[in-house]
Amino acid sequence: MLNVNNLYKTFAPGTVNEVKALIDVSLHIEEGCFTAVIGTNGSGKSTLLNAIAGSFKPDHGRINLFEHNITNWPEYKRASLIGRVFQNPFAGTAAGMTISENIALAMRRGKRRPLTAAITSRIRDEIAERVKTLKMGLEDRLDNPIGTLSGGQRQALTLLMASWLRPQLLLLDEHTAALDPKTAAKVSEITKEIITREKLTAMMVTHSMQQAVDLSDRIIMMHRGRIVEDLRDEMKARVRISDLMQTFERVQKLDLFDQSVAEILEQQFV
């Protein structure tokens, strides 16, 4: 289904700000699997998601989604296969346009956009019906500019929009990180609901280990541009937050060890 092969990405190469964001990342994700990607800040988890979504071209490597080699596809073309929700609740919708207009845009994701009216009464009914499933009362506010809604409401709508046409792959980039705890829980719940109901293949970057443990079928841990842990099936079923914390600490200690060893070696031999 999703195949990532030997992906490399370095930002600002050759400068003092050089960041090796992805180093030889390979990953295979089966259809219907909900994968959580966790890791420290700057570990490359969002970069991996953006590479799959097509925000930039990798330096090296290949990305296959189903039978398509999408490595060189521009972002907008990949959108025909991929639905996305961003960390920033304002990034996924056009603020000045109404709820129904925003959803009408999502109803033709990756399809031709003809010169026929975007909002007809039939389309409007269809929108109201599905917005009702969010249980946020937004079906009565379809003609309000989406910018008047709260971050949580907008994120829930973005989620609905990303899954309106069943995507081959749903990418969630810390989509609850900018919300207050209560709203985050609600959006998490909607996420689970939509993914289970539509049997979606999804990847979710998250900072919340709780969320990773509760929602996903598989957990990938990244550190310094590499995948350092891959928990699936029984391993995932047994894993607890404390286990993940331990792994984190181990990985970080290893880092410290590397650095201190290098320093000692330097002092002794240089």
Binding site: A79, R84, F86, A94, G96, L105, I119
Partner: protein, 313 residues
């Protein structure tokens, strides 16, 4: 009455310019100075084809396409060659100055005693009134030819506005509107935001050229200088329109653009009547836009000071 009617007529003609700039400035959020060149391009293309015996309607249509082509080039400079937004427009505007001179072969083409798009309307009105040269409108005598120009401009303006409104509410039009608002979201919905920008600028400058073609026919000449300052003019009209009726919906916004253009033209006509030196016109327009742009910020900070003061008291 003559001054009011002519202000209305010019307002209706320039409404196409304002509607075009509504697409670039408000919807794509693209400050497009190509307008100054494409208005003249529309005028010069229409003028040269009309004096070569083309039907004025066909000439106007060709002018619209020429403007759309210029807008497309600006869009390509911006999207394909990654030239800054404002610079793409400046390059195109500068290039168009020479193109316009080439098109006309000289700097000015008079359109006296030639057919214009008004001809058809005038025939109809003369037929209805039975060959009178003056008719009565609300007690004012108005020459049939002036009235015909007004009616023609009105009809063209209404048709253009309706088409624009319809387009902006289609799937494609919705995608276009979203492009300026949130390009990241637009890409995530599978829309090529670069193509949308090019399409939007084409449409925008097509409308601007329509305005130029009609203006040349109305005033009886095309001049290579006539586009200078037209972008600021359009901006002023948009701002007035928004102040008059707001932006509740697409229909309201477009109506506002038309009313704003007419209202602004009336203000200018009155100011000129009161003795404003025509040479100062562009300075006054620029000042007006400056005030309209900063006034909301001033009001906001003033309000904050007052309310903030109350809160601390």
């Amino acid at each position: 009455m003559g001054i009011v009617l002519s202000a209305f007529t010019i307002g209706l003609i320039l409404a196409a310019l304002t509607m075009g700039m509504l697409i670039s400035f408000r919807m794509l959020r693209f400050t497009d100075i190509t307008v100054d060149g494409s208005l003249t391009l529309g005028a010069s293309v229409a003028a040269i084809t009309i004096i070569n015996g083309w039907s004025p309607w066909l000439a106007t249509l060709v002018a619209v396409f020429s403007g759309a082509f210029a807008g497309m080039l600006t869009g390509l400079l911006y999207t394909r060659f990654n030239i800054q937004m404002i610079l793409s427009g400046i390059l195109m505007m500068t290039a168009l100055y020479s193109v316009n001179l080439r098109v006309m072969g000289r700097s000015n083409i008079p359109l006296l005693d030639t057919k214009t798009v008004t001809g058809t309307t005038e025939t109809i009105i003369t037929g209805v009134t039975g060959g009178l040269s003056q008719i009565n409108i609300m007690g004012w005598p108005v020459s049939v030819s002036d009235f015909s120009v007004f009616v023609t401009a009105l009809v063209i303006c209404i048709i253009t506005a309706l088409l624009l409104k319809y387009f902006l509410l289609t799937h494609l039009g919705t995608a276009l509107r979203a492009t300026g608002s949130n390009p990241q979201m637009v890409r995530a919905q599978g829309i090529n935001h670069k193509s949308m920008t090019v399409l939007g600028l084409s449409l925008s400058n097509g409308l601007v050229a329509l305005s130029g073609a009609l203006l040349a026919q109305y005033q009886g000449f095309a001049d290579v200088q006539m586009g200078i300052g037209m972008m600021v003019w359009g901006l002023a009209s948009i701002i007035i329109g928004e102040a008059l009726v707001g932006t509740r919906s697409i229909g309201v916004t477009i109506t506002g653009a038309i009313l704003g253009t007419i209202f602004f033209r009336l203000l200018i006509a009155i100011a000129l009547r009161w003795g404003l030196n025509p040479n100062d016109l562009k300075l006054v327009t620029a000042l007006f836009v400056f005030i309209a742009l900063v006034a909301p910020i001033w009001v906001k900070s003033l309000r904050k000071t007052i309310w903030g003061g109350l809160k601390n008291a």
